[in-house]
């Protein structure tokens, strides 16, 4: 078990501690993902501000991990500007562990609709497996167990599809 896992496994038994840690992780995730997506789409803060109808300093604020006063409505506007969907869910604390361990630019980047392969490739079956894997992995709450189960199901249905 990694040192981080082992620390959080012990520390999260305290309710006040785990909620504070998770709140900070959420602020970090949101601010950093906005910056990563903006850079992925090669937009300046001013250009994103224009797309969302906000002022540039507001974008700078939203990209600061110390900022916590964002709203779902604001994030919806950002999502629309990036042509992505906004996803808000309640999650288990254990799901925060892999999210923390894999936190990186690659983990935060998302393809906007025009690059969302599943909608644009003619041969849907060829792209279906990796896309579904990624989508299911994102949803997995108890990473090893649930992802394993989902992949097993996907492989099973792929086998059925190919035999048909």
């Amino acid at each position: 078990m990694s040192e981080l896992r082992s620390n959080l496994r012990e520390e999260f038994h305290d309710k006040e501690y785990r909620h504070s840690y998770a709140d900070e992780s959420l602020n970090t995730y949101i601010a950093t993902q906005i910056k990563v997506l903006r850079e992925q789409q090669k937009l300046t803060q001013k250009e994103l501000a224009d797309l969302t109808g906000m002022a540039q300093p507001r974008i700078a604020l939203l990209e600061d991990i110390n900022y916590s006063s964002w709203s779902i409505n604001t994030l919806r506007r950002i999502a629309e500007a990036f042509d992505l969907r906004l996803s808000v869910r309640f999650e288990t604390f254990s799901s925060l562990i892999p999210e923390t361990e894999t936190f990186s630019r690659e983990a935060l980047e998302r393809a906007p609709f025009k690059e969302d392969t599943w909608f644009h490739k003619k041969d849907v079956q060829a792209v279906e497996m990796p896309i579904l894997r990624a989508a299911y992995a994102e949803q997995a709450q108890s990473p090893e167990r649930k992802l394993g189960k989902i992949l097993h199901m996907s492989v099973g249905s792929a086998a059925v599809a190919s035999s048909a």
């Binding site: 981080l4 305290d14 909620h19 950093t32 110390n66 361990e101 990186s104």
Partner: protein, 130 residues
């Protein structure tokens, strides 16, 4: 890439950074540890606002945690291996957006002590726990 974190050690070999962190309220310690985990996994530049630069102290950075007591942790990159290490130097509390006088100078003097005697004046980061 993952970074190696160190804490400053005083002349007696004690760890004032860990001692300061252990004095934080539980929720502030959780926030501080989250920031330190981020620093260790991604460095200070990936997450905007994680460790800000400081005017007049070009080698120092500041981690801030939102709280009514405004805890601030001062650190530097390296100072021995600049490509793979950070050293946590000093914790303080801001009052009315002001640090106690001499805080940055003290943090910088700790950095110099480490450069002069890295073997004794720093050790691997010790996570503060409640």
């Amino acid at each position: 890439m993952a970074w190696t974190l160190y804490d400053y050690r005083d002349r007696r070999g004690e760890n004032p950074v860990r001692r300061w962190c252990e004095r934080l309220q539980k929720k502030d310690l959780a926030k501080m540890n989250q920031r330190i985990d981020l620093l260790e996994s991604n460095g200070h530049e990936f997450c905007p606002g994680l460790a800000s630069n400081l005017h007049g102290a070009p080698h120092l950075h500041k981690i801030r945690v939102n709280s009514n007591v405004a805890p601030r942790l001062f650190l530097c990159k390296g100072p021995i291996n600049m490509a793979s290490e950070y050293t946590l130097l000093l914790g303080e509390f801001e009052k009315d957006d002001e640090l106690p006088e001499g805080t940055l100078q003290l943090a910088e003097s700790y950095r110099q002590e480490i450069i002069n005697d890295p073997k004794n004046r720093r050790g691997l980061h010790e996570r503060a726990k409640k």
